[in-house]
């Protein structure tokens, strides 16, 4: 049997609420500490206790962090999902299971490893009866560790980290790991090909989820006001702000420079956020699809009254309540024109945990500079799952608070200002903040029609003038938005455009397509809407552009087609949304399927069209994923 080293997936099937996350995180952290690129994904039900849940760990020597469709090692602890779990193991794979589950083993093409978890834990006098199920999870960690060679020292380090150095739980759990290891050593014969071997690919790297990264980024961005309402998968973002604020913004006098308010609903959450943004605070909220729907009316007000706020949308799959614990990229269309009437949204599209941090602080700069709501579209896969990342970097630029007039500024201009006057011809007016004591500072904000001095008016020409200025402001915004990331391939005439958490799976699919089909593909990951010039150039430069995204209707494809009508025939939608994190398998299959439909005539026409265009590669950011 050929050894398969550092390139396989492990799936643990347990019951929701059974406390397996400590065990699974321990495996994940230990592999990470062995220097092997690894990712961890929680595929969980919308339930508190009892329903089946799976944790998927992928070790990848090549650094592919996307979901692997193939299940190489499956650990079955939950009788309810046992049959399904057994069937899911890839041929040649391995199946570990708790031997108190007395169900038939129907596979002969895989390695089968029963584990006497209950028995081993019962024997340990140090484990109180109440803790047996919890600690029992550590037995499979031990058995697995022995079989695939997880470094025991790294397991201990992982437990020490997890329990923040508290010796009692560390010892109790570590004993169970050791018991599992020893039992496996004495009783199991290795029949599968999977092994881990130490590497140095994670040196200097961190491991985090996107919600935590976004929260910390926001704190470094000087977040002052957060109003939120609990919703999966966004809750952990606001909760992480609560966790990190006291440490990161600690003052000697013990007082706070911020406030976090759990609102009564999403209407109030964004209402408070708008109020705080209006009064001059770095103000944010975080939510997911259903909450975003409720926030629509305030988003429209913030656009029209020109109030800076940041809205994180950790996308889950809709429509309606949808699959609350499954990922998606289907809020893009909704977000870009959010609100009734003509309105334009600034949307940031982070692609990984590092960018969740970066956009965490940058979003405030953009919002305050533009005096507009800034949406940041993350998703459940990025937000709640564990990703390897380069370390967070301290903000490189001071805070941009935008155009604000305080008392001395008004004194200088003798109070002669108008809230919506386009003094600098960039569409961005000046604002004053409540508390300004200058007698000319105040103005009356409204969602109704207003003139340059914020006075109510229904005058048609003034209305048009204001709407045109808002459009100009939106154009100005492009200057401040993050540029797309290009992953070039020498000699490529085919392109992929995507955004967000699919990047890793797309890079993997690209490598497979190159290896198996000789396709040369450039990848452009869009990081903001409105699109900047680099995106249009990329579209013009490629014969075919596959637009890959996790939704049904190809929303990014639609937006790109609208922005590049002349290239619409060359933009090919590869859209798929089943709620699971993107995998190279469907991206690859989708591209191959659509490739057959591309007619040569279009290729020729496309070539002609792109002949005179400058190279996109000079302009786009060179920042790669890994």
């Amino acid at each position: 049997m050929n050894k398969v080293v550092n390139d396989f997936s492990i799936i643990v099937g347990t019951k929701n609420g059974s406390g397996s996350s400590t065990a699974n995180n321990t495996i994940l952290r230990a592999i990470f500490k062995m220097g092997i690129p690894v990712s961890g994904k929680n595929l969980f039900p919308s339930n508190i206790q009892g329903l089946p849940t799976w944790y998927s760990i992928r070790a990848s020597k090549d650094g592919y962090l996307g979901r692997r469709d193939q299940q190489d090692i499956v650990i079955a602890i939950n009788p309810d999902s046992f049959t399904r779990d057994l069937a899911s193991v890839a041929p040649g794979g391995a199946f570990f299971y708790a031997d108190d589950i007395r169900l038939p083993i129907t596979r002969a093409d895989i390695a089968i490893y029963p584990m006497p978890i209950k028995e081993l834990v019962k024997k340990d006098p140090n484990v109180p009866a109440d803790y047996r199920d919890l600690v029992g999870n550590m037995v499979y960690v031990g058995a697995l560790a022995h079989m695939i060679h997880i470094d025991i020292e790294k397991i201990q380090a992982a437990l020490t980290f997890h329990f923040k150095g508290k010796q009692k739980p560390i010892d109790m759990n570590f004993h169970a790991v050791q018991a599992g290891m020893e039992w496996a050593k004495a009783n199991l014969e290795k029949k599968d090909p999977f092994y881990l071997e130490p590497m140095n690919q994670t040196d200097g790297m961190i491991m985090a989820d996107g919600n935590t990264a976004a929260a910390i980024g926001s704190v470094f961005g000087g977040a002052q006001f957060v109003a939120w309402y609990p919703i999966t998968p966004a809750s952990s973002l606001a909760e992480a702000i609560n966790d990190y604020m006291p440490m990161l913004r600690k003052r000697e006098d013990g007082k706070h420079t911020y406030a976090v308010v759990q609102a009564e609903d999403e209407l109030a959450a964004i209402g408070m956020t708008v109020g705080a943004g209006w009064s001059g605070l770095r103000s944010m909220t975080s939510t997911s699809g259903p909450g975003l729907s409720l926030m629509t009316e305030f988003a429209g007000l913030a656009y029209y009254a020109e109030v800076p706020i940041v809205i994180w949308d950790v996308q889950r799959i809709g429509p309606s309540t949808g699959l609350p614990t499954r990922t998606s990229q289907a809020d893009l269309s909704f977000t870009v024109g959010m609100g009734h009437g003509d309105s334009d949204s600034i949307v940031l599209l982070p692609g990984d945990v590092f960018e969740c941090f970066e956009f965490g602080w940058q979003a405030f700069d953009i919002a305050e500079r533009m005096q507009a709501p800034v949406f940041v579209l993350s998703d459940l896969d990025m937000g709640m799952n564990q990703w390897m990342s380069k370390p967070f970097e301290y903000p490189t630029t001071p805070m941009d608070r935008g155009k604000i007039l305080w008392e001395k500024d008004l004194e200088e201009i003798k109070g002669n200002w108008g809230r919506y006057l386009d003094k600098d011809s960039d569409g961005i007016p000046y604002r004053t903040l409540p508390g300004n004591k200058h007698p000319m500072s105040a103005y009356f904000t409204r969602g109704t029609g207003h003139d340059e001095y914020a006075k109510y008016t229904e005058d048609s020409s003034i209305f048009i003038r204001n709407m045109e200025r808002l459009k100009k402001k939106y154009e100005t915004a492009k200057k401040y938005l993050p540029k797309p990331v290009l992953h070039p391939t020498k000699g490529a005439t085919i392109g992929i455009i995507a955004y967000g958490s699919t990047e890793s799976a797309i890079l993997e699919a690209r490598d497979q397509l190159a290896r198996d089909h000789g396709m040369k593909i450039d990848i452009l990951r869009v990081r903001a809407f409105p699109f900047t010039a680099e995106v249009d150039e990329f579209v013009r430069e490629h014969e075919q552009v596959y637009v890959v995204e996790m939704n049904r209707d190809g929303q990014l494809h639609q937006l790109l087609s609208l922005a590049n009508p002349e290239a619409a025939m060359r933009l090919i939608s590869v859209a798929y949304g089943d709620g699971l994190p993107a995998s190279a398998k469907w991206i690859r299959a989708g591209i191959l399927e659509k490739s057959a439909n591309v007619k040569p005539v279009q290729k020729a026409a496309a070539k002609k069209a792109i002949a005179k265009k400058p190279s996109v590669k000079k302009n786009a950011s060179k920042k790669g994923a890994k």
């Binding site: 706070h256 708008v274 967070f392 805070m399 007698p439 109704t448």
Partner: protein, 350 residues
């Protein structure tokens, strides 16, 4: 230095050196005779008499006739005319920008008791430092005369028929949501309105003022049981929305005495019964306050006066232990963690 009066200071200047004019707003665009205008005037008078700096006040409102009124007082104060029923959340967020400022919110019965009921209740329990005035007329004015949730059962409106539902009692709702200041008045009782505004403004926390403010145009009940003959001389149809008959504001001819019950005729001939709180009534007793409101409901009275006040609960900002400097004046130094903190954070990411 002794505080001798300076020569040449006009008598109509208050202790912060402002005249009453400095508290005025834009000319009203509400109907002539609307009770809301009277309330705006009493806000102006109260703020002038209390020598409040307009820059220390933020005005808020939702949507509706009442919510337009902050335009008509205190031009020198910041203001936010927000969304229908969402004034409390806007005000809550804005308050954190500079928690030394006092809010004056003006809402209506539709804005508060229907679409905004949820936010109304929650701003009570958060005890935001704001005067929350409900200009209550039992009817939707701007959309031309539909029932509001405070309309009495049995009220008839031309296009709407008969109201089959019990009214929402705003003071009762405030009280059971743990509001710390609850009062009711009548727009025509100018002196009481002004005194209650002053008391509400001085209160640290949420102060609800439910002010009955008759709609001159739409709350027109032509078959009222208690009908005065006011409308008899007027031939013009009250329901014709293209014509708004000029009317005088309803003003009490004589102050209500303590404990007094008095019927007051509305523009349309209908009657409300005001009941001033008894002498010796203790507004710090929540149990008594609830009893007084229950009693009023049984008798079909509108109890006026300061119904409840408590100074024991901390106002919203106090529960957040904020720095003394207004948050909106903090800069990078206060808001961005030090560079070495990034390493600390990265060390936790494993």
């Amino acid at each position: 230095m002794s505080a001798l009066p300076m020569a040449g200071v006009p008598a109509n200047v208050n202790t912060v050196g402002l005249t009453k004019n400095d508290y005025r707003g834009a000319p009203t665009t509400l109907c002539a005779g609307c009770g809301h205008n009277s309330i705006s005037n009493q806000i102006i008078a109260a703020m002038y008499e209390m020598s409040v700096l307009p820059e220390n006040v933020i005005k808020f409102s939702g949507i509706g006739c009442s919510s337009k009124s902050p335009t008509y007082f205190m031009n020198r104060s910041f203001g936010f005319n927000s969304l229908h029923g969402r004034m409390p959340s806007i005000a809550t967020g804005a308050h954190f920008g500079d928690h030394s400022l006092k809010g004056i919110g003006v809402s209506g019965d539709g804005d508060t008791a229907s679409i905004g009921m949820g936010q109304f209740k929650h701003v009570m329990r958060r005890n935001l430092n704001m005067v929350y005035i409900v200009e209550n007329n039992g009817v939707y004015g701007l959309t031309k005369g539909q029932f509001s949730a405070t309309a009495e059962r049995g009220l008839e409106l031309k296009k709407q028929g008969t109201n089959p539902y019990m009214p929402v009692d705003i003071c009762m709702e405030a009280l059971i949501s743990n509001a710390t200041f609850v009062a009711r008045s009548f727009a025509g009782n100018a002196k009481q309105v002004k005194e209650l505004i002053k008391a509400a403004f001085a209160h640290k926390g949420i102060a609800v003022l439910d002010i009955i403010s008759p709609c001159v145009t739409f709350n027109n009940q032509d078959n009222a049981h208690y009908s005065y003959a006011w409308g008899k001389d007027h031939e013009e149809p009250l329901h014709d929305i293209t014509y708004i008959a000029p009317r005088n504001e309803i003003v009490l001819e004589r102050e209500l005495a303590e404990g007094e019950v008095r019927e007051v005729a509305m523009h349309d001939g209908s009657v409300i019964i005001l009941k001033n709180l008894e002498k010796g009534y203790d507004p710090t007793n929540r149990f008594e306050a609830l009893r007084a409101l229950e009693e009023a409901q049984r008798n079909n009275w509108l109890t006026t006066g300061l119904i409840y006040v408590s100074t024991e609960k901390p106002a919203l900002a106090d529960t957040y232990n904020l720095v003394d400097t207004p948050l909106n004046r903090l800069t990078d130094v206060d808001l961005r963690p030090a560079p070495e903190m990034i390493d600390k954070v990265n060390a936790l990411m494993f």
